[in-house]
């Protein structure tokens, strides 16, 4: 007991001490975004509060126009960048959304190029990095890149399968804000979802990482095979003293496009998603996060719209709150989306790289359908009170099922119900 108390006191002391130097403010048209190190949060404030917090003497360039509401316009830069550092991975998961392989992707960037990317992202005012793959833990320079990001003021976070590169990852775990291990089921369910039995190794990785770091969680891709096991997954997270469970909707990208019909949740499971996960989170007292594509399933239960907005719950945030980058640096709206077409305005034949973010970000037509949801809205989304938050749902699912990324999310319970009536 005393050991736990000492750990708690030390943790609180370290967090308060660590919070002091780590604070950034980024001005936006609505006001500003303030990054806090403790509590770990991005706080969106209006202009009046921004003036007090930033102690700004003049009016920043972002405030030249009228003060808008949060969400009315695209941010000045993404909050976070998802960097797919490599497409190398030997796991061979059935539904891998990047189609990772032991060989990786052609023309993968190395440390030098990714450092340049971080320079660009830091200059743009990006706050967080989510590093993934493939399996990024096998990269010998991962630790150096994480340290570089920290030095530039960005917080690197990491997703790993836990299947490879664990020894080296443990040594550098403290450089990351949060590390989550992909765990799509317990025991035999892991194999049913991923196509091979890797549970024991993933579990061993979680235990070992947790011995070295508090901020360890799991990412679970929810499929029709593991939906009924969600409560046990939360129980597992509690037993392993993990900081969070992050639940991800199955996306039809990479090998996942072929496995989509077999693995995606049923309509009934999507309808029951929110009460199921909240009950599990409450029962086991574990924090739960959901990915942006689940917003239609949250809205189905008609939660307080203002509360969702205050919690920053948005549907498709690709090309706005987040961006992705492929292993060769090509920029994407999100990790599941293909690179956008080249823009004439940039005057280049190749697709934009993440090092060109600041040029590409403000181009008319940048990110295509990911940015046009405000104007391109059709029924039944147009009459939905949650549309400004949901933004039409997951565009990757729409593109796969409907052949049109701007079409309403076909798995949205409201869309489904209305279309069934007509």
């Amino acid at each position: 007991m005393w050991a736990n108390a000492r750990e708690l006191v030390r943790s609180v002391r370290d967090r308060i001490a660590g919070a002091r130097p780590m604070r950034r403010v980024r001005f936006e048209q609505f006001g500003a975004i303030v990054q806090l190190a403790w509590p770990r949060a991005l706080v969106f404030v209006d202009r009046a509060m921004a003036r007090r917090v930033a102690r700004s003497t003049g009016e920043p360039a972002a405030w030249r126009g009228r003060e808008t509401e949060l969400g009315d316009t695209v941010l000045s830069a993404p909050l976070e960048a998802h960097l797919q550092l490599t497409n190398q991975c030997s796991a061979g998961c059935t539904g891998c959304y990047t189609g990772a392989s032991p060989q990786g992707a052609p023309h993968e960037w190395g440390l030098v190029e990714w450092k340049r990317a971080i320079d660009t992202l830091a200059s743009a005012g990006v706050f967080h990095l989510a590093l993934g793959g493939g399996e990024s833990a096998i990269l010998p320079w991962l630790g150096e890149l994480a340290s570089y990001a920290r030095a530039k003021g960005l917080v690197p976070n990491l997703t790993t399968s836990g299947l490879d590169g664990l020894d080296s990852l443990v040594q550098i775990a403290d450089r990351f804000g949060q590390i989550n291990v992909s765990l799509d089921g317990l025991g035999a369910t892991y194999a049913a979802v991923r196509g091979f039995d890797g549970f024991a190794r993933a579990d061993a990785a979680i235990r070992r990482l947790r011995e070295h770091k508090r901020e360890i969680g799991i990412n679970t891709v929810v499929t029709r095979h593991n939906f009924s096991e969600l409560d046990q997954i939360f129980a597992y997270a509690k037993e392993r003293r993990l900081s969070e469970v992050e639940l991800l909707r199955f996306k039809p990208a990479g090998r996942g496009a072929r496995a989509y019909d077999e693995l995606r949740c049923t309509a009934d499971q999507h309808d029951r998603f929110l009460p199921t996960i909240l009950a599990a989170a409450k029962r086991h007292r574990v924090r739960v996060k959901v990915d942006c594509s689940y917003t239609p399933m949250l809205a189905h239960h008609q939660p307080d719209r203002a509360l969702l907005a205050e919690l920053c719950v948005y549907g498709c945030t690709g090309g706005d709150l987040l961006i992705g980058a492929k292993p060769d640096g090509r920029i994407t709206a999100c990790s599941f989306a293909p690179p956008p077409p080249e823009l004439v305005q940039i005057g280049k034949q190749q697709r934009p790289r993440v090092t060109e973010l600041e040029t590409y970000w403000t181009q008319p037509g940048a990110f295509g359908a990911f940015r046009t949801w405000r104007d391109d809205v059709a029924e039944p989304c147009a009459s939905c009170e949650y549309h400004s938050l949901c933004r039409g749902g997951c565009k990757v699912v729409s593109a796969h099922v409907r052949g049109d990324a701007s079409a309403p999310d076909p798995e949205c319970p409201r869309v489904r119900a209305i279309e069934a009536r007509t």
Binding site: R52, Y97, E244, C312, S335
Partner: protein, 59 residues
């Protein structure tokens, strides 16, 4: 004339390690708007308290 205090519009809690989508903490949905109504002013006070600390890195 007194300066308007301003308001917090939204708070995105935690950090997102998931390299495929934006992870949002929805644990607050368990306790509803009341709990958030308590937490938000505390965060606001914390922000204002820090006005007296060294200047933030401003972009």
């Amino acid at each position: 004339m007194a300066q308007r205090r301003g308001r917090i519009l939204a708070i995105k809690w935690g950090m997102n390690p998931n390299s495929s989508s934006l992870g949002v903490d929805v644990t607050f949905l368990l306790v509803g708007a009341t709990a958030l109504a308590i937490v938000t002013p505390i965060v606001g006070t914390w922000l204002r308290w820090r006005v007296n600390k060294p200047r933030a890195d401003v972009k």
